[in-house]
Structures are given as structure tokens and as C-alpha cells.
């Protein structure tokens, strides 16, 4: 099978990007940012609270960490459910011990179906963000617009009603988006999105329904990527997070404030043989006096307060 000459045409070959979502800029070229009380490294601890349905449709693909065996996959369903029944309480205890103010990215259906858990989470000094409806409601290119419009609206409204809070942030299941997702988020009053992992700082992101801010939630050091996908040991995960922390802290001394975004999953780090590794990481992070540990929305607010009026991309 041969390609036509169109394959050698490049309509978006131009200065900047091959899209109009955000401006090109290198991190080193931007104005320096500082965090409250002269802190240099903002640490965003993100807890992803998820519901993986047993009757997974897998449209348009099977979500990573979801069901893999023929129906009914009791094994994976219950392993993920373990996180919301057992693991999460170990994680919350660790948060309390190290005074962590978490960002709680929760599937709206889980919030709806599990009032006990929601109530427990609401008692923390954290922030809820919407993690879509559930892990089998992926947003994807080619998705019917009406269908996606309804899912986004239902997810955001459900979480706002249940929590009585504004819910300013969004994390798509599997960070998967359609071409319309950013527009739908802006239309529903979402201020920031965590899906695009292309920066170590927030940046402005355009939609046809007004601007969003992208708050990149790193995939590279998250537990499910390092331990779950790459099959590295828990100890190696600890080492990698510490190395990332040390590096960003050193960079912040030269280049201004940086952000470390650490995403964790209760079904993974809440296991008895892993929880001590999470505690070790939290102890390392919270023990440093150059760290400002805060929920994502507060990091965003401090960032925006400084970048308004400047040509911050």
C-alpha cells in the first residue's frame, strides 16, 4: 500500500505548534515564580479515587488498570475496590501524620455511590477535583459530542451537588481527551485541567468557550506508572520520587518556583507492603523547609496572581 503525495504535505509546519491550544514557550524563558512565604517548591499530592466497573465496555480502549479477564473479572474489580475500602484509610492516616493537604480527584460515580468515603474525604483540609464519571467513561477522539457533553455535565454537577463545593479542577480518566473535552470543561465552569503532561508549571490553555489553565499532573513519577506499568520495585519508586524532588528543588534555586505533582492511587500505595514507602516519601517531602505543600487550586491561584499583567504564556 502506497501513500499519496498528500503524505508529504505539512499544513501545520509553522512557528509554534501544530494546533492552537496554547503558546510555545520554553520553561527557562518564562518569568520566575515564587510561592507563599518564600517557598520554592510547590508540592501537589494528588489522590486518584476511582471506580472500575465490572461490566467494562472498553470504549474505545480498555482503560489501563481496568478489567483484563473475561467477565466477570472478580480479580481486578475487587483489587481496585480494595483501594476504596481499605487502602485509602492507610493513605489518609499517612496524610494526617505528615499534615498533607491533598487534592482529591474522584470519579463522580464513586462520590455518589459511596457517601461514607465522600464524607470522610470532605473532612480533610483538601480540594475535590472531578475525575470524570468512572474509569470506563473515557473521553476520546471521535466520541459523540452529545454523549460527551452529557457525561461532563453530569460528572461535574454531581460532584458539586454532593460536596457543596465549587469543584474547579478536572482530571480525565486515563488523561484521555476528545477534541471537544477542553471546550466542555470550560463550558461547565472548570478552571483547570490536569491532563496534558507537558510542563512542570501551570500554563494557559485555550478553548472556544474561554480559557483554562493546564496543571500538568506528571505521569512519569506516579505510582501506577512506575510500579504498575514499569514494574519497578516500591523502593525504586521512593528513590525516583526523591530524585525528582531533589532535582526540582535545585532547579528552583536557579530558575524560580517549581511544582512537583505526585499522583497516587489507594489501590496501589494503600497495600500493606507499600504504605511504608508512601510514608517515606511524604516524610521526605514534608520535612523540607523550602516546600509549600498545597492543593492544586491554591497553587493555581498563587501562580495566576503573579502572572496576571505579565506576558505569561
Amino acid at each position: 500500500m502506497n501513500v499519496t503525495d498528500d503524505y508529504l504535505q505539512y499544513p501545520w509546519r509553522r512557528a509554534g505548534y501544530d494546533h492552537e491550544r496554547y503558546e510555545w514557550s520554553m520553561l527557562t524563558d518564562r518569568p520566575k515564580v515564587s510561592w507563599p512565604r518564600g517557598k520554592r517548591l510547590a508540592v501537589w499530592v494528588n489522590l486518584s479515587l476511582q471506580f472500575y466497573p465490572l461490566n467494562q465496555r472498553g470504549v474505545p480502549f480498555k482503560v489501563p488498570n481496568g478489567m483484563t479477564m473475561p467477565y466477570p473479572d472478580l480479580r481486578h474489580f475487587s483489587l481496585r475496590d480494595y483501594g476504596n475500602r481499605v487502602g485509602v484509610f492507610r493513605v489518609l492516616e499517612a496524610f494526617e501524620r505528615y499534615s498533607i493537604r491533598p487534592t482529591l480527584a474522584i470519579n463522580a460515580q464513586l462520590a455518589q455511590d459511596n457517601p461514607y468515603l465522600l464524607n470522610r474525604l470532605a473532612g480533610l483540609d483538601g480540594e475535590f477535583i472531578c475525575h470524570g464519571w468512572n474509569m470506563d467513561h473515557l473521553h476520546y477522539g471521535g466520541q459523540d459530542l452529545e454523549e460527551e457533553t452529557a457525561v461532563v455535565q453530569r460528572s461535574v454537577e454531581t460532584l458539586r451537588e454532593l460536596t457543596g463545593r465549587p469543584v474547579r479542577g478536572w482530571l480525565s480518566p486515563a488523561k484521555s481527551q476528545s477534541w471537544n473535552t477542553p471546550e466542555l470543561l470550560a463550558k461547565n465552569g472548570i478552571e483547570y485541567c490536569c491532563d496534558w503532561v507537558n510542563d512542570d508549571m501551570p500554563y494557559a490553555f485555550q478553548t472556544a468557550n474561554g480559557p483554562l489553565t493546564m496543571m500538568p499532573l506528571s505521569s512519569e513519577i506516579e505510582d501506577q506508572f512506575v510500579i504498575g506499568q514499569n514494574l519497578h520495585s516500591e523502593d525504586s519508586w521512593v528513590q525516583q520520587v526523591k530524585d525528582a524532588f531533589d532535582y526540582l528543588l535545585a532547579e528552583s534555586a536557579e530558575q524560580g518556583g517549581r511544582m512537583l505533582a505526585l499522583n497516587i492511587h489507594p489501590w496501589l500505595m494503600g497495600q500493606p507492603h507499600r504504605i511504608a514507602c508512601l510514608e517515606e516519601v511524604l516524610a521526605y517531602i514534608s520535612g523540607h523547609d523550602a516546600v509549600w505543600q498545597a492543593p492544586a487550586g491554591e497553587i493555581l491561584d498563587h501562580f495566576k496572581a503573579q502572572s496576571e499583567g505579565s506576558s505569561q504564556p
Binding site: N2, V3, Y17, D29, N198, D199, D243, A244
Partner: protein, 312 residues
């Protein structure tokens, strides 16, 4: 389809003529940062899907963008620290998209070689004329943006045709004579440069680039831990340094090696390697030119002698 690659001949590693690197160096060491552009919505190719998910593939696109927005400056600072000039495997459309990166590398006298136009446009399905045009575009773009005559080639996303090496050498010759189109990074058959025989008869070689030390192969395909990657790099270096007359390459990607949790491993590897006395820290082009000037003819003679003694 052919049964084997016929651009080079079997040539056992033992009993080869000794390669002498400049100043008595035991090893030629080069770092090849891939600076790539992947498109958000590339056209489909009948032989290979550019992204595993429906477009927009946000996770894949955005981490590669991280490389250019964030990672490049980190890697460049590190190479500056160890006085290493990068040999860039370049998605040449990046000259248009992100000329700031090109300028930073040009100021440092880094080498630019062709890695196609985009890493989401594959050679598969191209006619010979189309592939020739794509290669010509990439070489001309490098010259227009940097003033350099492109010496080397690594096919975009390692997508090849049967004519890839021939076409690269021919287009290089047409545009810039002996200065351009002299080496390929597409062959992984050796730890030393070797002659590559082309239909044009141009003096052309393979420069070892290494898939094994490639950060993306290590981190993404083989899923190694950052500190283990450091061990692999040290061991690779130690053995090649001990053997002498060898080439070590670290092919990197600014979205892999420059992530905060991996920088320490890369830095320690560079510290270790450049801390040895007999290392020629160089570029792909300089290795190729040195080999063509000093070793190519000897190698061709040795190979011809071996072939005549023991015809396969």
C-alpha cells in the same frame, strides 16, 4: 523482499585492523539527542499507526512536548557542563516549529543530522521519488536553518525502505558533495564504524548509535529503573574503553532522560565517562570524517581479502 541486509558484509570483530582515534584516545564518545516533533493529528499511514489511541493522543503528545518545553534546556545545560557537543537527530520540521531550540544548539556548534521531517511521518508506503523528496526537504531545511551540510541520517521513527541509505547518500552528494550524506545511524550491527556499500559507490559508513543505550529503549521498551540505566551506561563504557578503537553513543530524548527523576542517573554517567583520560568526546560527523580519512580504505581491503579467502 530480501532475505538479508546487503549493504554491509560479514566482518568478524576479532583480528580487524586497529582504529587509531585522535590523540591516542581509546574510545570515541558521542551523545545524540533526538529532538523530535510528533504531530497531534498526523495523517494515517497504511503500515503503521502514529498513536495507539484515537487522536488527540494527549498522553503521548504532551510528554513529547514536555521534552521540548522543559527537557531540552536541562539536557543542554548538562552537556555544556561536561563539554559535550550534541549530535542532534532532528525532526527537521522543528526548525519551523521551535527555531529557538535550533538557535541554542547552533550557538554551541552542535551537529544537526536528519531524522526526517516529523517523527509521525513514516517512510513506509513511499515511492522512491517520494522518499527522495522527503530526504531532500530535510537536508535543505537543516542547511537553511543552521548552515550545515547534513552528514548523517536516522530514518524518521526508524522507518526504512530498501532504498533509504542509497537515497540519503545520493541526495547528500547532489546538494553538498562529499560534505553531506556520509553516514547512517540506522544499522546496529557493530561497535565500530564500518563501510556501507551503496549503489552509487559513494564512500559511506555506519557510525554506531546503539539501541541498547538509547534512553527510550531502556526506559520505555525495557522499563529499566533510572539507577540501573546508569549501571548499564557505565558497564557499556568500561568494556568498550578497555577494548579500544570503539565508539560509544548515548542516544537520548529530551522527554525521557531530562525528566526530573532521571537527571541524576544521566549526570553521573556523563561525569563518569568524561572523567576518563583517553576519551575522544566528539560528534557523529567527526567520527565519520576521521574514519573515512584514516580507516575506511584499510577496512575495505580487509573485508575484500576475507571475502576472497572464504566466499560464503
Amino acid at each position: 523482499m530480501k532475505e538479508r541486509v546487503d549493504a554491509y558484509q560479514y566482518w568478524p570483530y576479532e583480528q580487524r585492523p586497529k582504529i587509531q582515534w585522535p590523540n591516542g584516545a581509546r574510545i570515541a564518545f558521542w551523545v545524540a539527542p533526538n529532538i523530535e516533533y510528533y504531530e497531534l493529528d498526523p495523517p494515517s499511514n497504511p503500515h503503521r499507526k502514529p498513536w495507539p489511541q484515537p487522536h488527540p493522543a494527549v498522553p503521548g503528545y504532551s510528554i513529547r512536548d514536555y521534552g521540548n518545553r522543559v527537557g531540552h534546556a536541562r539536557q543542554m545545560a548538562l552537556l555544556d557542563k561536561y563539554r559535550i557537543r550534541g549530535s542532534i537527530s532532528l525532526s527537521t520540521a522543528l526548525c519551523d516549529h521551535h527555531p529557538e531550540i535550533i538557535e541554542l544548539c547552533r550557538e554551541r556548534d552542535w551537529e544537526f543530522f536528519s531524522h526526517g521531517i516529523y517523527n509521525t511521518r513514516y517512510t513506509y508506503g513511499m515511492s522512491e521519488a517520494q522518499e527522495r523528496e522527503m530526504i531532500r526537504d530535510s537536508i535543505e531545511t537543516i542547511h537553511r536553518s543552521t548552515g550545515q551540510a547534513c552528514a548523517g541520517y536516522l530514518a524518521p521513527a526508524l522507518s526504512h525502505s530498501e532504498h533509504t541509505l542509497d537515497l540519503f547518500a545520493e541526495v547528500g552528494q547532489e546538494l553538498f558533495g562529499e560534505q553531506a550524506g556520509i553516514y547512517t545511524c540506522d544499522l546496529f550491527h557493530d561497535d565500530q564504524p564500518t563501510p556501507v556499500n551503496l549503489r552509487s559507490g559513494k564512500r559511506f559508513i555506519s557510525v554506531p548509535y546503539s539501541m541498547e543505550m538509547n534512553d527510550t529503549i531502556a526506559y520505555v521498551v525495557n522499563k529499566v529503573e533510572p539507577r540501573h540505566y546508569l549501571q548499564m551506561l557505565k558497564r557499556n563504557f568500561d568494556r568498550l574503553y578497555a577494548e579500544g578503537g570503539t565508539v560509544m553513543c548515548i542516544p537520548t530524548h529530551n522527554y525521557q532522560v531530562s525528566c526530573p527523576h532521571r537527571m541524576k542517573a544521566f549526570e553521573e554517567a556523563l561525569e563518569y565517562i568524561t572523567g576518563h583520560s583517553d576519551v575522544w568526546v566528539t560528534t557523529g560527523r567527526e567520527i565519520a570524517q576521521h574514519y573515512l580519512a584514516n580507516d575506511y580504505d584499510t577496512a575495505q581491503l580487509a573485508i575484500a581479502e576475507l571475502t576472497s579467502r572464504s566466499p560464503r
